[in-house]
């Protein structure tokens, strides 16, 4: 009887596995590179339930956290060429200058530089962020000019960004996202 009790669930399990394989619900055994014991230990530790972990907490999707307003900590609305840390990979964009402002909780960050993947062409990266939601807004993007870079911001007035490039100057419209070159 004992062996039957063990065997019956085992048979049932095989049936389930066969059904799942038929249905494609279980993938074939994974093929991964061997991981040495030290790395394996890190992975096992990472994904194990920590000893003494509290039982699952109740969820409260209606919770609204106390408002903690984002606080700009840099000098706003001026062009700087130092300490420019652009939120974009250097494989895509090499910055020279930045101009950042915050208006009604919206961060408007404009970066001048060159598009690394476009042969170093002049480029502007615009980063619009809702600082309270922590999300990017429409209008965020990398805009590449038809001309050699790097581009350097010289000023921002309203929606117009002024800039200089090697041997040329121009303007970039933040709304239309078009470049306009000054006569040479």
């Amino acid at each position: 009887m004992k062996s039957l009790r063990v065997r019956a669930p085992a048979v049932a399990l095989l049936v389930v596995i066969a059904f799942c394989l038929e249905a494609g619900a279980i993938a074939a055994p994974s093929r991964r590179p061997p991981v040495n014991p030290a790395k394996r230990a890190i992975l096992d530790h990472q994904f194990a339930l920590p000893p003494g972990a509290a039982p699952p907490a109740p969820k409260n999707p209606a919770y609204v956290p106390p408002y903690d307003p984002p606080r700009p900590q840099i000098e706003l609305a001026h062009v700087t060429s130092t300490d420019v840390q652009v939120p974009l990979s250097p494989a895509l964009f090499a910055p020279t200058t930045q101009w950042i402002d915050v208006v009604d909780g919206v961060q408007i960050a404009v970066y001048g530089g060159s598009a690394a993947h476009e042969g170093g062409a002049a480029a502007i990266y615009v980063w619009l962020t809702d600082l309270n939601a922590g999300s990017n807004l429409a209008g965020t993007g990398l805009f590449v000019a038809k001309g050699p870079g790097p581009l350097r911001l010289t000023g921002v007035s309203g929606q117009v960004v002024s800039f200089s490039c090697p041997n040329r100057t121009g303007r970039f419209d933040l709304l239309s996202r078009e470049f306009h070159w000054d006569p040479t």
Partner: protein
């Protein structure tokens, strides 16, 4: 369990593409909202919260945030990450699982005029590890462990630190204290670091690669390092996934990046993987 990560849907062609963030603030309400957004979306996988490059001010280590954020202390970053963990927990359905990674970078080329640079990168890394551990404790004590775990991430770019000193010291410091994974989500542009140094960043201690793959050539660079690892360390690295930066024009979509990386890994028997566990898009 597939591989070593939390299980993904093995029947799906691709893992879930999580949204990762370049952070401009450590506002706890903002980070709660980001976590809730991820939870509502049913996000599964690695989520990197990139708080910018390491910094030091008035006796405190931390980072220089992106945009208008300025200096953020490690304490304020930890509070922000706790808020993200709260938001993810509250808004996620049961059974989704996220690895919440405390992200930084090795940014600061010599010509960039960076302010508030750390006095000691090994110490900066050590504290980064300590705070990563503390987030795990918070997750465990809060009853979130069934769906969340804590990690770190480093956007390590060879061109940003050609001398390799600060990059090495930060990672060494991290591994001296941390008990949790660190994702290398940087690049491998050639001409800066030795293969040995690249491997150190990607795979020493608790480090694992989750590399930027914006172009097919970037996947090829990582396959070159994989082959170097086979030849010089006896085994390839376990590639956890890839990071994309979609929708920058001309770059690979997350799924295209996944395919590019997997194609490279599958081009040699010694580096073969049949799947990657994580896809994340950072913006």
């Amino acid at each position: 369990m597939v591989g070593a990560a939390w299980p993904r849907d093995a029947t799906a062609a691709y893992p879930y593409t999580t949204r990762s963030y370049y952070e401009s603030t450590t506002s706890t309400s903002t980070l709660y909202n980001q976590g809730c957004t991820a939870g509502n979306a049913g996000a599964v996988g690695a989520i990197i919260l990139d708080f910018g490059r390491p910094a030091y001010r008035d006796g405190a280590y931390g980072t220089k945030l992106f945009g208008s954020g300025g200096f953020a202390s490690n304490v304020s970053i930890l509070a922000a990450m706790k808020a993200f963990a709260d938001g993810y927990w509250d808004c996620s359905p049961l059974r989704t699982q996220a690895v919440i990674a405390r992200g930084t970078s090795n940014y600061c080329p010599a010509t960039s005029g960076c302010s508030l640079l750390p006095r000691d990168y090994a110490a900066a890394g050590s504290y980064w590890g300590t705070r990563t551990n503390e987030l795990t404790t918070y997750i465990a004590n809060s009853g979130y462990s069934s769906q969340e775990t804590s990690a770190a991430a480093d956007d390590a770019e060879p061109a940003w630190d050609p001398a390799f000193t600060s990059t090495h010291d930060f990672i060494a410091g991290y591994n001296s204290t941390a008990e949790w994974m660190m994702f290398d989500y940087g690049s491998l542009e050639s001409g800066y670091w030795s293969r040995s140094n690249e491997y150190y960043v990607a795979y020493t201690g608790a480090n694992f690669p989750l590399p930027e793959v914006y172009y097919p050539s970037m996947a090829a660079n990582w396959e070159s390092l994989e082959l170097w690892a086979v030849e010089n360390r006896g085994v390839s690295m376990w590639m956890t996934g890839i990071t994309s930066e979609w929708p920058v024009p001309g770059t690979l979509t997350p799924h295209e990046g996944y395919d590019a990386m997997l194609d490279q890994l599958q081009s040699h028997a010694s580096t073969y993987q049949d799947a990657l566990d994580y896809l994340t898009d950072i913006r």
